[in-house]
C-alpha cells in the first residue's frame, strides 16, 4: 500500500466514524414533544418561559434544553398553565413556590440578590475611579520634565560645538 493510499483510507474511515457519531448525537439532541397551542402568542410565551426557567435536577440547563423526567413534567405543567390562560407572573410564582428562587435564571431583585444585580455596576464604577486617579497622577509631572532655560542654553552650546 502506498503512503497516499493509506492516508486516504484513514481519512475515509474517520469520516465514516464522524458521520456515525453525528447521527447518534442528533438522535437524542433535543426533547421531542408536540404541543398544540391555542395561538401563536402562547407558543412564543412557552418558548420564552422554558428558556427562563431552570431545570431543578440538571442545574446548568433550562427547561427547554433538558431531557430529564422532571423537565418533561414541568414543561407539561407549564403548557397546562398557559392553556388555562395564566399570566407569566402567575406561572413564575407557581414555580418559585414549589422549587424556590433557584428555578429562575433571571433572579428577582431583592435584598438577597442586590449583589448580583448591582455588583457589576459597582465594580465598573470602582474601576473607573481607579483609572481616573491613575491618569490624573501621571499628567501632573509632565511640565517638570520640560527643560529649564538654563538647560536649553547648555544644550544649544553643546550642539554648536559639534
Amino acid at each position: 500500500m502506498t503512503k497516499a493510499k493509506f492516508i486516504i483510507n484513514v481519512l475515509s474511515f474517520s469520516l465514516v466514524i464522524f458521520c456515525f457519531a453525528m447521527v447518534l448525537n442528533s438522535a437524542n439532541a433535543s426533547p421531542i414533544e408536540t404541543y398544540q397551542f391555542k395561538d401563536d402568542v402562547t407558543k412564543v410565551r412557552f418558548q420564552a418561559l422554558t428558556k427562563e426557567l431552570r431545570c431543578p435536577k440538571c442545574q446548568n440547563q433550562n427547561l427547554a434544553d433538558s431531557n430529564s423526567p422532571i423537565s418533561v413534567d414541568l414543561r407539561r405543567e407549564l403548557y397546562g398553565l398557559l392553556q388555562e390562560g395564566k399570566a407569566d407572573s402567575e406561572i413564575v410564582n407557581f414555580m418559585v413556590e414549589r422549587y424556590g428562587e433557584f428555578v429562575l435564571y433571571r433572579p428577582r431583585v431583592s435584598s438577597v440578590t442586590y449583589i448580583l444585580w448591582f455588583g457589576p455596576a459597582l465594580l465598573m464604577f470602582i474601576g473607573l475611579i481607579v483609572v481616573i486617579m491613575i491618569v490624573r497622577r501621571k499628567s501632573e509631572p509632565e511640565e517638570e520634565r520640560a527643560l529649564t532655560t538654563q538647560q536649553k542654553e547648555k544644550l544649544k552650546h553643546l550642539l554648536k560645538d559639534k
Partner: protein
C-alpha cells in the same frame, strides 16, 4: 499608603481563592426547599396497595410524619431502604411513602421482596403531588410536624450518619416544642 495599595490585588486574589476553595466542598444538590415552613400541600390520590382507597393530607396522621419519596427506578432508594426499615421502628415517628412516577406492579413487588416500612404509600404515578412538593428526584424525605408544617426536605439517601446529623436534632426539637405546647 502607596505601599499598602500595592498589596491590594494580592489580598483580593487570596480572598477570591478562599471563597472558591470553599465552593469546592459545597454540595450543589443541597438546596433549601421552598416549602420549608409552609403547610403540606393538599392532595387526593390512591394508595399504592389499594387503588380503591383515596388518601388526602388528613390521612397522614402522626405527630412527626416522615414522607419518603421513592421509586423502583431509583437505585439510591434501594440503598436507603434498610435504613428506612430501621427508622420505621421508632414509635415517635410515622413513616409514609410517596411512590413517585412508578408502576404499581413493580412497586408492590419491591415492597413484597424487601419489606414495607411505610404506614402506606401514596401512589403518584404522574408526579402531581411530587410537583407540588417541589420534588425533583428520588429519594427525598420530608419531615412534617404536628401542625402539618413541612420542617425539612432532605434530597438523597438516608443512612446512619445522615440520620444522626440531619434528622435526629430536628426530631428532638419538634418533640420539645410539642411538650411546651407550641
Amino acid at each position: 499608603m502607596n505601599k499598602l495599595i500595592r498589596f491590594l490585588p494580592l489580598v483580593l486574589v487570596l480572598a477570591l481563592g478562599v471563597v472558591l476553595y470553599r465552593g469546592l466542598s459545597l454540595n450543589p444538590q443541597d438546596m433549601p426547599s421552598a416549602l420549608v415552613g409552609k403547610a403540606m400541600p393538599e392532595f387526593s390520590l390512591q394508595t399504592l396497595n389499594d387503588p380503591d382507597r383515596t388518601v388526602t393530607k388528613a390521612d397522614l396522621k402522626g405527630d412527626i410524619v416522615l414522607l419518603n419519596v421513592w421509586a423502583t427506578w431509583c437505585p439510591t432508594c434501594k440503598y436507603e431502604h434498610p435504613y428506612l426499615v430501621d427508622i420505621a421502628k421508632d414509635p415517635q415517628l410515622k413513616l409514609y411513602g410517596l411512590n413517585y412516577k412508578d408502576e404499581r406492579r413493580g412497586a408492590l413487588q419491591w415492597l413484597a421482596k424487601y419489606e414495607d416500612p411505610y404506614v402506606f404509600s401514596i401512589y403518584d404515578d404522574t408526579g402531581s403531588l411530587g410537583l407540588d412538593l417541589g420534588v425533583f428526584g428520588a429519594p427525598e424525605t420530608f419531615v412534617i410536624d404536628h401542625h402539618g408544617i413541612i420542617r425539612k426536605r432532605y434530597a438523597g439517601a438516608i443512612e446512619t450518619r445522615v440520620w444522626r446529623s440531619e434528622f435526629k436534632p430536628l426530631i428532638a426539637q419538634i418533640i420539645a416544642e410539642r411538650k411546651e405546647g407550641k
